[in-house]
Symmetry: C2
Subunit: 469 residues, 2 copies
């Protein structure tokens, strides 16, 4: 996952890797598979040896399970292990199991430390230890430090390769140092200035170095970073800061303010996308399943949600059961009642979706809550009235009963108001008690709109027509 | 929206701008409001003159509508118009209306061209023209060129400020040029190499320049970019490429392969987040409404979705109406039927959400469709069976009727299978006929699970118990 300038299309093999729309080219896949099956190492290297890691990652996912390890073996030292950071977790772990640990250790040796950590973190402890043993002591310490930080922390995602210079250096010294240095990060956008205790003093963007005179002191062109990312900080917090302030990279410091690594925006892009997608998945009741997960994994992860919703559905049924006699007396009510619940559910989901994202992006907070609440009530009332008219007239015509139109119209307006209220207040309330609103909101909102929907409709009908309850 | 190294916390005023969780500090807001109401220009400049544009943007949104223009006026030339790229569209447009066009033209003169375009594009034509007249001819041409590209294209979002050097230059010449040049972009990460016709030859990352010797030819360290971003390309396509290949910036070329601008990752981050969020909103039936939109705007944008879903709900009611006599004969069916529809709806939404995101990220395609289909059927059958048992036993106990348990269990299994099938096939089918699956899928999926749910449950019940239809 090294950030790159657009070198995507350099030295492509003759066969195009991707089609216009971005999918891998089927002819290319076929050629690769043929080379694998023929154990044609040279042919395979020519086809896939120079691919970008992202293309190699996608290619690995497309191959059959048995072909993947053969693919890596045939490519030999032309296989770039960074590609493993671009595959699904399930695919990566299976492939790693199929490869000898010493090959993995050798392959990972070429990578930046953040990529090594990304690949190692999900492996079992024994394999992890064996692979780590293949690293030089200093590198191993760096990797272990990252692995010791919590899974969702900045420290776990940071890269250990960076350039730090002393505060008394000049621009010229810095440039000369970079020209001579080996073991530089693969790409970098800024360098860091530290004091003798390796405490972070500031950062200098490369364009500032290039535009400065050689004799200038590095501290004169440096930007003081009064608050760098803390290694223990949650990666989503960090992502929000990158996004808010349009950062490209940031230093990571430990509790003693010592520079321990850097984060670059390409890693953060993944976090940002994951976060928006997490909300989407959570609202729909799917976990972080991947397209390559097994039937059992997926069935199990989805079942929880379904069982919780079963509770909601049974609760709604219990409300209907209260009105069994009413329905028996006028069966048209059974025909129409799902409309009321469904309209409320849809309106509640609309409000809730906006509220959940507003909370996640911090656009919805205490300062504008009342204004938004007022707005939701008005929107609910406005759309409720329009829908009530539409549905009311439909029901009247359908059952030739104007009273039925009035009853369903009234129930719709009531349910739309409750939908707006619960769609807003439930996510806010959950957030207040530190429950992720994306995960838990929709069960509660649906419960409200179902229960209120059935209760209002059947209740008003019983009163209006004087039916038994 | 200029990408920045982490200079976020430099020269902060004494009062913290944000609280721990990232919201604006209420005390800070109060101080700003007091300064505005007292027309205290000096005090306001001290408080808010040096803020990061993102903070200023959030601050503007928090202020009362009348205070916003006063805020800008009091800050005078310390107001950074870039902040307007960080506010909601509704807030920005109202504020721009309240400011004199000549002030706007002067303020925008300081900005990079992509930010100017972002601010101008939604204004009405007359104001746009008047403001553009305040720019120098060359700048105006650049802005007009961007504005002429379609709204969602790379050309509309590109930045006109970049550094291009001739192919025969050395590294030393390039560095000297940058040291002397004025009017450089605010930040940059690579420079571009062009031929005499300004056709793009390649790009050189700044770290490569810094690590090279002065006498080296620039073409020796440049990366050939065989396919840069086309100005007419859709921004979401571009975002996918940035994300896939971890790009930081990319050249933008016109149809004749001439370099016309650059895109940087910070603009792309917004596109990536918007895209994931668009899917979330589309699935829930909310448009791109913003937290500051008016009641009427929001009510109207949500109503369409509700009316479409009303059609679905009426269709489901029509299915129930077919079984009026059945329900009259056994009113417990009316109590239980929403459970079947609701379980199907939830399972369908789960599959659909995964499918819609899989299509958007290109992880789901022709090559793995059959495998995913087989998996969805198995998951539906597995979870359907478990839920059927749970619900079947519940129904049996509740109504003391084992037959009712069998009937509802059978209906659940059938509906869960259809939920899996429709949740996958409907998004894929919509994508094939070029309809956005995120927008249209959920209406169809809900229709299927409602209709099948009610039909299967009431139909099987009628057959099993020999009830009238």
């Amino acid at each position: 996952m090294n950030p790159k300038i657009d070198d995507t299309f350099v030295e492509l093999p003759l066969l195009a890797v991707r089609e216009e729309e971005g999918h891998l080219n089927p002819d290319f896949i076929l050629a690769v598979e043929t080379a694998i099956d023929a154990e044609d190492s040279d042919g395979l290297r020519e086809l896939a040896g120079k691919l970008h890691e992202a293309d190699t990652g996608d290619l690995i996912e497309t191959l059959g399970e048995a072909q993947r390890a053969v693919f890596v073996r045939l490519l030999g030292n032309e296989f770039d292990y960074t590609a493993l950071t671009e595959t699904d977790e399930a695919v990566r772990l299976k492939l790693l199991e199929a490869l000898p640990n010493e090959d993995i250790a050798e392959g990972l040796g070429e990578l930046d430390s953040d990529d090594v950590v990304y690949i190692l973190e999900d492996m079992d402890e024994a394999d992890q230890a064996e692979i780590l043993d293949g690293f030089a002591l200093a590198d191993r310490a760096q990797l272990q430090r990252s692995l010791d930080y919590p899974e969702d922390s900045a420290g776990r995602r940071m890269q250990g390769e960076f350039i730090a210079v002393a505060q008394f250096w000049t621009v010229g010294q810095t440039i000369d140092y970079m020209r001579e240095a080996r073991d530089l990060p693969e790409s970098f956008y800024e360098i860091y200035v530290v004091d003798p205790g390796f405490r972070l003093l500031g950062a200098v963007a490369l364009d500032k170095i290039l535009c400065a005179k050689r004799h200038e002191k590095i501290t004169e062109i440096m930007t003081e970073t009064r608050r760098a990312v803390l290694a223990t900080e949650d990666k989503e917090e960090v992502a929000r800061r990158f996004e808010r302030y349009n950062l490209i990279s940031s230093a990571v410091v430990d509790d003693a303010d010592r520079l321990v690594g850097i984060l670059t925006v390409d890693d953060i892009v993944d976090v940002i996308q994951e976060e928006a997608e997490e909300d989407l998945r959570a609202l729909a009741g799917v976990g972080d399943e991947e397209i390559s997960d097994s039937v059992i994994t997926i069935a199990r992860s989805r079942l929880t949600w379904l069982v919780v919703n079963l509770g909601t559905a049974v609760l709604a049924s219990a409300v209907i059961a209260m009105f069994e006699d009413t329905i028996e007396a006028m069966v048209a009510l059974a025909v129409l009642m799902p409309i009321v619940a469904s309209m409320g559910g849809n309106a509640g989901t609309q409000t809730m979706t906006v509220a959940v994202r507003g909370i996640a992006t911090q656009e919805l907070g205490t300062r504008n809550m009342l204004r938004v609440l007022r707005r939701e009530v008005l929107v609910g009332f406005l759309n409720g009235t329009i829908l009530a008219l539409l549905i009311g007239v439909t029901a009247w015509m359908w059952f030739q009963n104007p009273g039925l139109g009035i009853v369903i119209g009234g129930a719709i307006i009531i349910n739309m108001l409750f939908a707006g209220l619960s769609g807003l207040l439930i996510p806010i309330g959950l957030d207040r008690i530190n429950v992720d609103p994306a995960i838990a909101s929709s069960v509660f909102v649906t419960t409200v709109t179902d229960v209120i929907g059935f209760f209002a409709f059947l209740g008003i009908a019983a009163l209006w027509f004087g039916l038994p309850i």
